[in-house]
């Protein structure tokens, strides 16, 4: 199982720890094309000695961004594939007959088997939404025509804004700036973890998603682990024993909680 983990490397200093427990495949958020992650330049990525490297492009890209992305495709040497949010990235890669793997990673989308199959005709794999129940994920995994990627561990990205929400707040009140802060709704006390860079702001979930229940599902190419913002010891304890009981900082997201959308359903 551990060989199927695709791990976002938040801190290169921990690389050997991950390798020691058997992680061999790493995901590197590409500098200038990501929000909500520690980013890496291509030079930095080239210097990191791991065999299976994937790039992450998770921003919604404007025209200048897509032009810039197209210019560097030829430089993706030693890269196994690209995970991306923006459909323009797929179109750009397709237009140059990109030979690496393409994995669609649109947060909150790809919630049904037929839409995933549509994409599996075009890309190598699809990251399935993490706002689904276990039964929904089980159905998808059992019926898709190819291999999928499932979230396994990490804070979930809950919202992505092009606004610099922390900067705007600190500017409004003329306070010292921070790029990572926890916010808490005054009424419900639900918390989110804001993470900002020059391209916008991501809100992460309050709890770390622990999806070890998903490890038995079929047709999984990778299990996605996001080490962003996570205490290293806690992550290592999970990687060493994925079936250990959930920590207080963890939950199982929506696996056993169905969302509603018409109020009369409640």
């Amino acid at each position: 199982m551990i060989s199927k983990i695709l791990l976002v490397l938040d801190n290169p200093l921990y690389l050997n720890d991950y390798r020691k427990v058997g992680v061999t495949t790493f995901l590197f958020p590409l500098k200038g094309f990501c929000v909500g992650y520690r980013e890496y330049s291509l030079d930095e990525i080239n210097k990191i000695d791991v065999s299976n490297k994937y790039l992450l492009v998770n921003r919604v890209l404007d025209c200048k961004d897509i032009d810039a992305f197209k210019k560097i495709i030829a430089n993706f040497q030693g890269i196994k594939g690209i995970l991306f949010e923006d459909i323009g990235v797929y179109q750009s890669l397709k237009n140059v007959n990109y030979s690496g793997e393409m994995i669609l990673f649109q947060n909150h989308f790809n919630c049904n088997q037929k839409s995933i199959d549509f994409w599996l005709d075009r890309v190598n794999s699809v990251v399935v939404s993490n706002e689904l129940t276990y039964k929904e994920l089980e159905y998808i995994a059992s019926n898709v025509k190819g291999e999928i990627v499932l979230h396994l561990y990490g804070y979930n990205q809950v919202m992505y804004s092009r606004r610099k929400l922390l900067t705007n707040f600190y500017n409004e009140f003329e306070l010292d700036k921070h790029d990572k802060r926890v916010i808490e709704d005054k009424a419900t006390h639900v918390k989110f973890r804001a993470y900002e860079n020059e391209y916008g702001t991501v809100m992460y979930s309050e709890k770390i998603f622990n999806g070890h229940k998903l490890l038995n599902l079929d047709n999984v190419k990778y299990f996605y682990v996001n080490s962003t913002l996570i205490n290293h010891d806690l992550l290592m304890s999970f990687l060493k024993d994925v079936n250990r009981p959930l920590d207080n900082e963890e939950d199982d997201g929506f696996l056993e909680k169905e969302t509603i959308y018409k109020l009369k359903e409640r």
Partner: protein, 395 residues
């Protein structure tokens, strides 16, 4: 110059008719399933049939949102629904999930495919992808800068639709499930609880953290929007009132016509801005068209809210023989009040409520105080059904 369309939201048949009568070229509506306003009344199949008939008789168009992000359980009945909409003759489906795009092709749906803003299209390669799938129009992300719009138009040639007015999401549309986490309501299936409008504590500060954006208002850049290639000006607000719809559509209709006729000036633009801001009860500003918004485009402590009691009544009937108007009251007014009428064919016209004011039973009254009460009085201005009466707006 390509055709410029004013596209209005409609949450029910009454609002749809008002939107079209007050100047919209097209309306977008949601059925009772598969639409991102799951808790609005929305349109039954019979309503949609009536809506299409009403619009087509005016040579106008109806678009139906089928723009939720589908879970497998939501797919039941989708094909039949799409075929029914097509048989009714709706002019376009507004779609975000690729499964609906694929089904439109498989089912040989005649209606146009418009890609929803939920798809967050912000570059020409993404738009070309949808063009390859058969889209004739893309609703660009609200985050589009004018240079993006121009480039996308040049590279794709597709019809482009952009929001010009109404509420903004804090997030890039579709890229938000705050509601799922805070309330267990699925935002991408129409259950959004607007968590981005909540107020928050923030770590290491005593100030209140807010991420609420001010509303969108593109009045001052309409001409530029046309120049960079926007074909359809979209107004947000399927859950808004008839008065809001009438006022916003009426105002934008006149602004667009003046821009196209080259007789727009800053005085009229300023007047229009004041009307719109007052009607919305919230500040409205440009957002992403010229720059990335700053703290000035967000709300932090409090809002500058003005009265929302402007809407006084809607005309039900006007008897030209005796100049008697029959009006349904919407807010308090009394004899001697200075009001104004406006309507699809009526510029704002001042009027003083006369002393002889009657209720439904012909009793003489001096105050109309009850919502929806029927009031009658003489008025020399020639009025029509669905004209509206509001407090006189002098700026």
């Amino acid at each position: 110059m390509e055709r410029i369309e004013l596209l209005a939201p409609s949450g029910n048949l009454e609002r749809l008719k008002i939107a079209l009568l007050y100047g919209a070229d097209a309306v977008y509506i949601g059925g009772q399933d598969y639409s991102l306003r799951a808790n609005a009344k929305n349109f039954s199949i019979d309503d949609i049939r009536e809506a299409v008939s009403f619009a087509h008789n005016l040579h106008k168009r109806v678009y139906v949102t089928v723009n939720i992000v589908f879970h497998d359980s939501n797919l039941a009945g989708l094909k039949e629904y799409m075929l029914t909409l097509d048989e009714i003759g709706v002019d376009a489906f507004i779609v975000s999930d690729v499964i609906v795009m694929q089904l439109m092709k498989e089912l040989s749906i005649k209606a146009e495919l418009h890609v929803s803003t939920q798809a967050s299209s912000l570059n020409y390669e993404a738009v070309n992808f949808y063009k390859d799938l058969g889209a004739t129009r893309v609703v660009l992300a609200r985050e589009a800068h004018k240079s993006d719009i121009l480039r996308i138009k040049e590279e794709t040639g597709l019809e482009l639709e952009c929001f010009v007015h109404g509420a903004m999401c804090t997030s890039i549309s579709g890229r938000c499930v705050l509601s799922n986490y805070a309330t267990l309501r699925d935002s991408n299936r129409g259950g959004c609880a607007q968590v981005c409008r909540f107020v928050f504590d923030i770590e290491d500060s005593n100030q209140v953290f807010s991420m609420t954006p001010k509303d969108l208002n593109m009045v001052s850049v309409l001409e530029e929007m046309i120049k960079v290639g926007v074909n359809s000006f979209k107004v947000e607000g399927r859950m808004r009132s008839v008065y809001y719809i009438a006022t916003v559509i009426y105002t934008y209709r006149r602004l667009i016509d003046r821009v196209l006729n080259h007789n727009i000036d800053s005085k009229y633009t300023d007047y229009s801005l004041k009307i719109l801001n007052r009607c919305a009860n919230r500040d409205s500003v440009e957002q992403f068209f010229n720059k990335i918004p700053s703290n000035k485009e967000q709300y932090f402590l409090g809002r500058d809210e003005e009265s929302n009691k402007d809407f006084l009544g809607i005309v039900l009937d006007y008897n030209k023989d005796n100049n008697m108007v029959t009006l349904e009251q919407r807010n308090y007014f009394k004899t001697g009040d200075v009001v104004e009428f406006f309507g699809p064919n009526l510029e704002p016209t001042s009027f003083i409520i006369p002393d002889e004011l009657y209720d439904e039973k012909e009793n003489l009254i001096d105050v109309a105080r009850h919502p929806k009460m029927i009031v009658r009085f003489k008025c020399p201005i020639t009025l029509r059904k669905d004209d509206m009466m509001r407090v006189e707006l002098k700026f």
